[in-house]
């Protein structure tokens, strides 16, 4: 801790409990409590049950979970490859052109994701680019939305990378591709995994573009949660949300383990 005096530490903890708990923790606690409830008319939910979880891990709901996991994996891997590749390639560009490329990658963040969904719907509803009605258009939309983050974080990491490493490698006779593979990518690994985690989490929770695009056989979890809550099944929705949070958290922890191992070498 950076706070050294006892009074300072107490103040820090108080601020933490007063601000953090209501702001961040309470909503999650409510969802968690609701996911076990059958009724909630008093201050606290009553008649605890595991039925919602049984429901959430079966049939269509389980399918929605795997759909979300697959979509998020596909989107974050493609975003990492595309965004990382673009950041690496942009390094060689003149500065002004590089700014333009950077801005282009930020564009999907500047417009509402509903608009991004709409654009994709318009663009891919006609042959030869007929993706509408397939799972691919969902993965594509998520990729478009999260690539900006991958591009940003890889680009930022690249500017911090000491050119002395690649130059030493080159002077030892390594060709650019070999330098990329053996030196630059391993050195970028912490940033790459951080970007992957971010992209994955964002894709897991994406709703607004997804609702415009998802086909009947490819219903991601947020859509299912949304329809559950909008038809009034709040407790079922809460259980689904908890499952989704747990799954995302598990993946993020796994990714950060890789990152720690990379950073500690």
């Amino acid at each position: 801790m950076l706070v050294h005096s006892r009074a300072g530490r107490w103040t820090a903890w108080t601020v933490f409990f007063v601000l953090f708990l209501p702001l961040f923790a309470l909503p999650f606690l409510v969802v968690l409590a609701a996911s076990f409830a059958t009724h909630w008319s008093g201050a606290l939910p009553s008649v605890p049950t595991l039925a919602h979880y049984r429901e959430a891990l079966h049939g269509d709901s389980l399918h929605a979970l795997t759909t979300s996991l697959l979509t998020a994996t596909g989107a974050s891997v493609s975003a990492l490859v595309l965004g990382g590749w673009a950041a690496l390639a942009a390094e060689r560009l003149p500065r002004r052109l590089r700014r333009v490329v950077d801005a282009l990658f930020m564009l999907p963040l500047a417009v509402p994701s509903v608009v991004v969904g709409l654009c994709l719907l318009v663009a891919f509803s006609q042959p030869p680019f007929l993706l509408n009605g397939t799972a691919w258009i969902v993965v594509l939309a998520h990729t478009v939305l999260v690539t900006a983050f991958a591009h940003q974080s890889v680009g930022a990491a690249l500017t911090r990378l000491d050119p002395a490493y690649e130059q030493s490698a080159a002077s030892l006779g390594a060709r650019p591709l070999y330098v990329l593979w053996r030196i630059r990518l391993p050195l970028l690994l912490p940033s790459l995994t951080a970007a992957a985690g971010l992209c994955f989490a964002l894709s897991m929770g994406e709703l607004s573009a997804t609702v415009m695009l998802y086909p009947p056989g490819w219903v991601p979890l947020p859509v299912r949660i949304y329809s559950a809550t909008s038809r009034g099944s709040l407790f079922e929705g809460a259980a689904l949300a908890v499952v989704m949070m747990a799954a995302t958290l598990a993946v993020l922890l796994g990714v950060s383990r890789i990152r720690n191992r990379a950073a500690h070498r």
């Binding site: 490493y165 130059q167 050195l187």
Partner: protein, 371 residues
Amino acid sequence: MSAAGGVRLDGVTVAHGGTTVLDRLDLSVGPGEVMALLGPSGSGKTTALRAVAGFVRPSAGRVLIGGRDVTGLPPYRRGIGMVVQQYALFPHLRVEQNVAFGLRARRTPRATITGRVTEALEMVGMAGYARRHPRELSGGQQQRVAIARALAIRPDVLLLDEPLSALDARLRSGMLAELARLHRELPHVSILYVTHDQIEALTLADRVAVLDQARLRDCGTPYELYRTPRTAFTASFVGNANLLPVRGERDGRVRLADTPLRVASGAAGPGAGAEATVCVQPHLLRLLPAPDAVGATGGAGSANVLRGTVTAVQWRGHTHRLLVDVHGHEVRADVGDLRQPPAAGDEVALAVDPEDTVLLPGGLTDGGHRG
């Protein structure tokens, strides 16, 4: 890998956005020769090295390695070993993997790699550290590994950019001796050694090139540059010399204000009244037995005598450095550890032999450099 090594720079000019950071540099390092590139900070030493390595493209001139024009070749096709200032060991690779890197990149057979890595690590005394990661090594150890990594590819040319600047004084002198030994073991390797430390340059190099403000100022053996510099800049930067403005006399002697000075024979004296510069190295000045000697030349014999007022005394362990104001010019004198050093404000007389009084043509325009 024949004896046809060596590096030549032919009028190499490098400009960064309008400013010339290297101006028509001509330099040639023979096979097996150690050339030190000496100069103050910002003089273009690293730039010259990077031009040889291929990391900056000269706007004019050619770079030849082993007689082959490599000006247009990318760094990875030049076959040189390079050790940069920060060592730049690959942090994610073990010491042995670092050393093997260049060989792997060249697709050397695995069996050969193992042998060469061991050999290179033994050469720098780091064989016991092969399994470590760079961050588990001290600065001096990292530097040895960086050298081993450069040597493993058996280059004909080794470029070293201030390799010892990150080390403390004691470690530095140890590493200097090791570099000298290393070069004896690899007699065919040409070494271009960048430094701003004249001791390193004088110790290690067969020849020293002095750079200042993007230009080559002087080039010669360490002894030549140290004892008989050709420019005031060399005299002050390499030899730490005091530079004193003098005027020529009719009889071929020179005069510092009203003090006549005899200079080393062989140098053509300036014409009467012409401006010239005299260089005297601090350690060649002797303190005459003061204070009764003030006014007399007692003990000086035929030596030149400079009289002045002490402005400061610095004790440096093995010497006392006296700063003496002589006719308005500050003269530094390193005299052996004195029992009773003079104090600031004392009048002293300093003697220097005529052979150690080096005359340079021209006035003190470029100011020289304070060492």
